[in-house]
C-alpha cells in the first residue's frame, strides 16, 4: 500500500505535471494519438459499415474481417510496424487504425441492422431516397449502437496508445516504460493510474453521449 501512496504522490506532484516531458504534455499527446487513430479508422470503417448495414450486402465478409482482426495481438502490430517504418508516429498510428476498425465496422452495420425493417419500408413508401433513409431513419435510430462501436474502438486505442511509447513516441506510456527501465515503481504505478483514470473518464463521457443520442420514445 505504501507503493500506492508513493504513486499517488508522484501523479499529483505539480512538478511532474509541467514541462515538455511532464504529465500535462504526455496526457495531451495520448489524447491526440487516440483522436487521430479513432478518427482515421472512423473515416474508413463507418461509411463501409453503413453501406453493408443498409444494403445488407457483404455482411459475411465484414463479420469475418472484424473477427479475424480481433485475433491480432496489439503489441505485435505496434512492434511490427515500428520495425518496418522506423521511429515515429506513423507506425503506431497504422496499428491504432487497424485495431479500431473492427469495432467501428461492427457498430456501424449493427446500427443499420437494428432498425425495424418495417420502419425502413415505411420510409421508402413515403418516397424517401435511399440516402434519406440512411441519414434520417437508420442513422438516428441506430446511433446508440454506432456509439457503442466508437466506445470500444476508443478504449482499444487508449490502451494501445501506451505501447506507442515503447516504439519511441510520447503519450502516458512513457512513464510506464521509463519507470520499468529505471526500476522506479512509483512512477510506473502512477503512470498506470493516470491511464486508468483517462480510460474511465473517456468511457464515462462517451456513455453520456450515447445516452443523449438515444432516440426519444425508444429508450
Amino acid at each position: 500500500m505504501s507503493q500506492l501512496i508513493l504513486a499517488l504522490q508522484w501523479a499529483t506532484d505539480p512538478a511532474h505535471w509541467s514541462g515538455p516531458t511532464g504529465i500535462g504534455v504526455r496526457l495531451l499527446e495520448h489524447l491526440w494519438y487516440t483522436l487521430l487513430g479513432v478518427g482515421i479508422a472512423a473515416l474508413i470503417a463507418v461509411p463501409i459499415g453503413l453501406l453493408v448495414g443498409h444494403t445488407r450486402r457483404g455482411r459475411g465478409l465484414a463479420v469475418a474481417a472484424a473477427g479475424a482482426a480481433r485475433a491480432l495481438p496489439t503489441l505485435g502490430l505496434v512492434t511490427l510496424f515500428g520495425l518496418l517504418l522506423g521511429i515515429g508516429l506513423l507506425a503506431p498510428l497504422i496499428a491504432f487504425v487497424v485495431l479500431a476498425i473492427p469495432s467501428l465496422l461492427a457498430g456501424a452495420y449493427s446500427a443499420c441492422e437494428a432498425v425495424d425493417p418495417r420502419t425502413v419500408d415505411a420510409a421508402r413508401a413515403q418516397g424517401m431516397t435511399e440516402l434519406q433513409i440512411l441519414t434520417r431513419v437508420e442513422l438516428p435510430l441506430g446511433m446508440p449502437l454506432l456509439i457503442t462501436g466508437l466506445r470500444s474502438a476508443t478504449l482499444q486505442v487508449i490502451a494501445t496508445a501506451m505501447l506507442a511509447a515503447y516504439v519511441g513516441n510520447g503519450g502516458l506510456g512513457r512513464f510506464i516504460f521509463l519507470g520499468l527501465k529505471t526500476q522506479d515503481y512509483p512512477q510506473m504505478l502512477g503512470g498506470s493510474l493516470l491511464v486508468i483514470a483517462l480510460a474511465i473518464a473517456v468511457e464515462a463521457l462517451l456513455l453520456g453521449i450515447q445516452r443523449l443520442t438515444a432516440p426519444r420514445g425508444l429508450a
Binding site: L4, A66, L77, L80, G149, S152, I176, M188
Partner: protein
C-alpha cells in the same frame, strides 16, 4: 525462415508459457460465470454490480492492470499468477453479462413445460436450461478465448514469458522474422482455440449443427452484444 529453424526451442517454450497463461483464465471465467449469472438472474442488486463492474473493468487497459494488480495481490510484477488473475477478471467482465443474457434468452414456456413434466430443479437446469443457453454461452466463450490469447502478449513488455516476448525481443534486436512469427503464432493459436470450441459445441450440442455460422461470425455478434450490454 532460418531464424525460425534456429530458434525452435525458444518458440516452443514461449508458446507453452503462453498457453499456461491463456487457458486457466478462459476456463475459470467460464466456470465462474455460470453460477454468477444464475445468481444475478434472481438478485437484481447483483445484476447492477455486474453491469457496472464489468463495464468499468472492461474500460481498464491491460498493461496498467498488470502493473497495479501486484500491489493488491502481493505478487511480483513478472509473476504468471498476476497475468492469469488479470485475464480472468477480463474474461469474467465479458462472460458474466454474456451468460446473463444467454440464460435470459431461454424461453419461459420451455422451462415451465420441463417443470410440468416432473423435472426437479437441478435436473431442469442441467438437462433443459443449460443446453438451451448453450449456443449463446459458446458464442461469448469464443470471444473470451480469442481476446485472452491476444492479451497474454501484453505481459511481454514487462518481461513475462509468452509469445509477446518474441515481439519485444524481435523489436529490440531488429529481427523482423521473430515479430512475424509471434504475430502469426498468436493469431493461429486464437483461431485454433476458436475452432476447437466450435467443434466441441457441435459435439455437445448436435442440434445446432445445421445453419452454424462461419469462423468468428457468432463471436463478433456476441462481442457486439456483450459490449452493448456492458
Amino acid at each position: 525462415m532460418s531464424w525460425i529453424l534456429a530458434n525452435l526451442g525458444l518458440i516452443g517454450s514461449q508458446l507453452g508459457a503462453h498457453l499456461l497463461q491463456a487457458l486457466p483464465p478462459i476456463l475459470t471465467s467460464f466456470v465462474l460465470a455460470i453460477p454468477l449469472a444464475r445468481l444475478a438472474a434472481r438478485a437484481s442488486w447483483l445484476r447492477g454490480v455486474v453491469g457496472v463492474g464489468s463495464g468499468l473493468l472492461y474500460a481498464i487497459p491491460s498493461l496498467p492492470l498488470f502493473i497495479v494488480l501486484p500491489i493488491l495481490l502481493g505478487t511480483g510484477i513478472r509473476s504468471i499468477a498476476n497475468v492469469i488473475i488479470a485475464l480472468t477478471l477480463y474474461g469474467l467482465a465479458l462472460m458474466v453479462p454474456g451468460a446473463i443474457s444467454a440464460f435470459a434468452s431461454v424461453g419461459r414456456d420451455a422451462l415451465a413445460s420441463a417443470t410440468a413434466q416432473g423435472y426437479a430443479p437441478a435436473a431442469r437446469f442441467w438437462q433443459v436450461e443449460l443446453p438451451l443457453a448453450g449456443p449463446a454461452l459458446l458464442a461469448t466463450l469464443r470471444v473470451v478465448a480469442v481476446s485472452t490469447v491476444s492479451l497474454v502478449t501484453v505481459g511481454g513488455v514487462l518481461g513475462v514469458p509468452s509469445l509477446g516476448m518474441l515481439f519485444v525481443d524481435g523489436f529490440q534486436r531488429g529481427i523482423l522474422a521473430e515479430i512475424l512469427t509471434g504475430v502469426v503464432l498468436t493469431a493461429a493459436l486464437a483461431l485454433v482455440l476458436d475452432a476447437l470450441l466450435v467443434a466441441a459445441g457441435r459435439v455437445l450440442m448436435p442440434w445446432t449443427r445445421a445453419g452454424a455460422g462461419g469462423v468468428g461470425a457468432g463471436g463478433v455478434e456476441a462481442a457486439t452484444a456483450a459490449e452493448a450490454s456492458a
